[in-house]
């Protein structure tokens, strides 16, 4: 429980959310991080080698 509380303390949930303002674009930092993570995951998903794929190709 103490571990969970100390981990939760890293993210202040009682304060107001942080927002990024860029011209007419307004997005919360949390949503921005999620979108960046999704783009990074997508790039990794299409570029990272799939385990065992090379072995299967050689066996064919």
């Amino acid at each position: 429980m103490a571990f969970i509380l100390s981990f939760a303390a890293l993210i202040p949930l009682d304060s107001l959310g942080h927002y990024i303002h860029w011209g007419w674009v307004e997005i919360s930092v949390a949503n921005f991080i999620i979108i960046v993570l999704m783009i990074a995951t997508f790039i990794a998903a299409i570029t990272a080698p799939f385990p065992g794929r090379r072995r299967r190709k050689e066996n064919r």
């Binding site: 999704m38 997508f42 299409i46 799939f50 794929r53």
Partner: protein, 213 residues
């Protein structure tokens, strides 16, 4: 009963049609083409797995009710599992969607497979939104009072009242999850019937192409 009578029965005709379209070896195949070895499909399976957890935790929340999920440690835990499995569901679904868009996965008569995926995504977004307004806390009150202006501006407010907790909860736990689950099942069956879309050819032969100099 004669064999011609048996042939005319709707059960016989339906069974033959299903056997023809989706034989058992196609429904649960032993092997897949090499190009299916892609992380994009892992995210498709992750979406399904997350949906399973969403439904399971939602069932537990339905059994115990709001006072339990707001007021007990175990209730908080299941409530958080419900939230975070939804986060993983959408994260995985979007990565899968982007990947399939880049592959133009509707090629080769797979339009219905693509469209069931698209409509599942839209149904899931609606399920999530009705979930926001069904939390029964200050957050859901705030979101529903903000959402009502948008819904009323479309003219749908008389039929879809986001301030009506009972109506929103029923949409969230019955109608929309039913649509999402049925569409997901249909999507998977269509993937099995049509197969996974093959990659683009490196040097496609373009028929009737005009040679320009």
């Amino acid at each position: 009963m004669s064999s011609s009578e048996i042939d005319r029965q709707w059960t016989t005709r339906l069974r033959r049609r299903v056997e023809g379209k989706l034989p058992p070896e196609k429904l649960l195949p032993d092997t897949q083409p090499n190009y299916v070895s892609s992380w994009i499909y892992v995210f498709g399976v992750a979406t399904m797995s997350a949906l399973f957890v969403v439904i399971a935790t939602g069932c537990i929340l339905a059994l115990r009710g709001p006072q339990w999920w707001h007021g007990s440690a175990y209730g908080h835990f299941i409530n958080s599992l419900h939230l975070w499995s939804v986060e993983i569901f959408f994260f995985s679904m979007v990565v899968h969607l982007w990947g399939k868009f880049a592959m133009a996965a509707w090629r080769g008569g797979r339009t219905l497979t693509w469209m069931t995926g698209v409509i599942t995504f839209l149904a899931s977004v609606a399920t999530a939104f009705t979930g926001y307004v069904s939390q029964s806390n200050f957050d859901s009150q705030w979101i529903s009072t903000q959402a009502k202006d948008g819904i009323n501006a479309t003219g749908a407010g008389a039929y879809f009242n986001v301030l009506n907790l009972g109506q929103m909860l029923m949409w969230h736990i019955v109608l929309l999850p039913l649509a999402a689950v049925v569409l997901t099942a249909l999507h998977i069956v269509l993937v099995r019937i049509k197969g996974v879309v093959p990659p683009f050819e490196e040097n496609p032969v373009v028929e009737n192409a005009e040679v320009t100099q």
